[in-house]
């Protein structure tokens, strides 16, 4: 019994020493840079290539999209806002393709539904709202491909939007509401306000820019025309009043 007791202790000590030895070996190899060293990947600095079938951010190659909206039907969480229009040659094309990536659960069902395979999932998985800067020095929200988004914000506006978006719905004041309304998509919906993402090719962006200019010019022209018309009417009224005054003056003169 005594021997069994001693044996128990001796074996315990033995296996303890073995265990300590193996951790010591690991520590030594790690510190001395022998063997494989640390397996940690220091993520933001070192990045790992994603496997081919990785389900990252969605990307739509809009030139192949036929606006069938099958992806929108397949999506279990309603991420999509899709609009189509006819172009100059009367061909149908996608005029708007927004995916709200904050809703997206990256299930990939939409890519399976797509008949032309233009909607695909890419390797990217990072969304940095603040530091994503494109070549023009403009910052964008929630997109890996900022040149594909058609709403642009400058630094201070981004900050303000981040602050406003962290408020609860009830806390958004009238001023902030006006701010949100002001930064809406030129096509009519405040996609930024609901943190959606628009995907457009670079060409499309140019077209949007051109169209925005056109719209602006047309609006200005309209305003100018209206102003001219108003001016003209005013001038006419003034002239008429003057004429009336002139006409009535001599008639009144002899009265007194």
């Amino acid at each position: 019994m005594l021997l069994a007791w001693v044996r128990d202790i001796v074996e315990g000590v033995e296996s303890f020493v073995v265990g300590m030895g193996s951790t010591a070996r690991f520590a030594y190899e790690n510190w001395s840079g022998k063997a494989t060293g640390a397996m940690t990947l220091e993520y933001p600095a070192q990045k790992q290539a994603m496997p081919a079938a990785f389900r990252g951010h969605l990307f739509n190659n809009v030139s192949n999209c036929i606006t069938c909206k099958l992806c929108a039907k397949a999506c279990p969480v309603d991420c999509f806002v899709i609009e189509g229009e006819r172009n100059e040659e009367n061909k149908f094309r996608t005029s708007r393709f927004d995916i709200d990536l904050t809703k997206c659960i990256y299930c990939g069902l939409c890519t399976r539904a797509c008949p032309t395979d233009c909607l695909t999932m890419q390797g990217g998985f990072e969304l940095d709202p603040v530091n994503t800067v494109n070549q023009r020095g403009q910052r964008f929200l929630f997109t890996q491909r900022p040149d594909q988004l058609d709403v642009r914000l400058e630094g201070a506006e981004v900050d303000r939007l981040l602050r406003v978006s962290s408020l609860k719905p009830g806390e958004v004041g009238a001023e902030d509401r006006a701010f949100l309304d002001r930064i809406e998509d030129p096509r009519g919906t405040a996609i930024i306000a609901k943190f959606g993402v628009g995907y457009y090719t670079a060409d499309e962006v140019k077209q949007v820019d051109a169209r925005r200019e056109e719209l602006k010019k047309a609006k200005e022209a309209q305003a100018a025309a209206a102003k001219a018309a108003a001016d003209k009417a005013k001038a006419e009224a003034a002239a008429k009043a003057a004429a009336d005054a002139l006409a009535s003056a001599p008639a009144q003169e002899p009265k007194p």
């Binding site: 007791w5 044996r7 001796v10 296996s15 300590m20 193996s22 640390a38």
Partner: protein
């Protein structure tokens, strides 16, 4: 040190002359002169211990550990806490530019790679957390527990000697004080467990108390054995008893006085780890069974106090181990020369040596933590009652026998009695004790190994170095 104590008394007198009651003056002066320096030294060390541990754990698990927080992070944190929204982006950019500057970059790299800056981040995080007191808890107990834990961890430091002159109070009952004040921890954990009104904390608290009470016994026996050997309970005198003149001053250390001392040291170390609830004995926390055990409901600073208490206790164990077995603050070589230095130099050197010994003890503790998995509570108790207590008892009697024998030999050989409190046997007795006791122990071990079936193949395979992958 005497001058220090004088000024302490003078300050206490000054407080009393300001109209405070005498005891309050003493307490206040004690806080200023003793508590604040102690906290100022031990708290950062305990904090650093935490970082140290994370780095060691990382190395043993093929990870990197804290490696990112640096000057930029600290600056950003400060800026984000202190400045309004508008200026933040600019300040962040400024911080980044600052760190691009050579010397700052070097410092930043040092802080970052060693993980030291992480300490600041952790501290701020802990302080910034909501002070959560769940409904249904026993408010008083719940709130008192963290303070008691801190008190239990720090009070024993009062008697720990750091040099000939630097010791809080050299009580004649030093070891008893350590055991008694350290017992507060058990109360703290039980209060936390009971007061949280939660089944996990309750189980954790009960386990902790059962465990601490059990392990008090082997720890107490080890302390008693060493106290008997040195003939004193005062830690300062215990260190003095291990003094050995000559170049090789480590020859006087208790650890190598007898094979029984070696076994006692191992027993004490294990039992002390179990007493401060560290892995593999952390059944009171047992994340895999009890969420977080006794501190499940603690958050923010309350949790932080428990964590701080834990690391302070590891430090305490290191200090105690050094005092009991490794000659306290004494240098392994040339202690005689250090003692002849002026008090200030002597104190500095001794504090450094003591800290180094503590750090080694802590390092081994961490090494053990990342090697062994957690024991079940029944295994923990069995280890205490069936292994450590008998082992400590046997060694206690062995030591007593050695002392008797040594005294007899000394009487015969030198014609005089072993002079208390000299802990060191005469050379002949020392050699005889190693031969006899060591031989007996080895014979027992060999017989025991022969008595049963051979080591299981799986364990044997483990004992030989595994084949490396190409």
């Amino acid at each position: 040190m005497n001058g220090f104590h004088q000024s302490f008394l003078a300050t206490a007198a000054w407080f009393s002359s300001c109209g405070l009651p005498g005891w309050l003056g003493l307490v206040l002066a004690g806080v200023v002169f003793y508590a604040v320096p102690l906290f100022a030294v031990v708290l950062p060390i305990a904090g650093l211990g935490q970082i140290f541990e994370r780095k060691i754990a990382a190395a043993m698990q093929r990870r990197i550990g804290p490696s990112t927080t640096g000057i930029v992070g600290i600056l950003r944190l400060t800026v984000n806490l202190a400045l309004p929204w508008k200026a933040k982006a600019e300040c962040n950019r400024l911080a980044e530019r600052l760190v691009a500057f050579g010397p700052v970059a070097l410092l930043d790299r040092l802080l970052t790679r060693t993980g030291v800056a992480q300490l600041a981040a952790d501290g701020v995080k802990m302080i910034g957390k909501e002070d959560l007191v769940p409904s249904g808890v026993d408010g008083w107990l719940f709130r008192a527990a963290p303070y008691l834990a801190i008190a239990g961890a720090f009070l024993p430091f009062v008697v720990v000697p750091w040099s000939q002159h630097l010791v809080g109070a050299d009580l004649s009952i030093g070891l008893v004080w350590v055991a008694a004040a350290g017992g507060l921890t058990a109360v703290a954990i039980l209060l936390a467990g009971w007061g949280s009104n939660n089944k996990w904390t309750m189980l954790g608290g009960m386990r902790a108390v059962a465990q601490i009470v059990s392990y008090e016994i082997p720890v107490g026996l080890c302390m008693a054995a060493v106290a008997m050997w040195c003939g004193t309970l005062s830690l300062q005198q215990m260190v003095a008893a291990q003094y050995h003149p000559g170049v090789l001053s480590f020859l006087g250390w208790n650890l190598i006085q007898s094979p029984f001392m070696v076994i006692l040291a191992g027993t004490f170390y294990l039992a002390a780890i179990a007493e401060c609830q560290r892995t593999p004995f952390d059944t009171a926390e047992a994340e895999s069974e009890l969420v977080s055990g006794f501190n499940t409901e603690m958050s923010g600073l309350r949790w932080g106090m428990f964590a701080m208490a834990e690391y302070t206790e590891t430090f305490l164990i290191g200090a105690l181990f050094a005092v009991l077995f490794l000659g306290g603050y004494q240098s392994p070589v040339g202690e005689q020369w250090i003692l002849s230095l002026p008090p200030l130099a002597e104190t500095v050197i001794h504090v450094a040596i003591m800290t180094a010994k503590c750090l080694v003890a802590i390092w081994v503790m961490m090494w053990i933590r990342w090697t062994l998995p957690r024991f079940r509570i029944d295994q923990v108790m069995r280890l205490a009652w069936l292994k450590l207590v008998p082992l400590a008892l046997v060694c206690l009697f062995g030591l007593a026998l050695t002392m008797l024998l040594g005294a007899r030999i000394e009487q015969v050989a030198y014609g005089r009695l072993l002079s208390a409190p000299s802990a060191q046997l005469p050379l002949i007795a020392w050699a005889l004790s190693w031969l006899l006791a060591g031989g007996a122990i080895i014979a027992l071990v060999v017989a025991a190994k022969r008595s049963g079936p051979p080591m299981p193949a799986a364990l044997r395979r483990l004992t030989t170095a595994p084949a490396r992958k190409a």
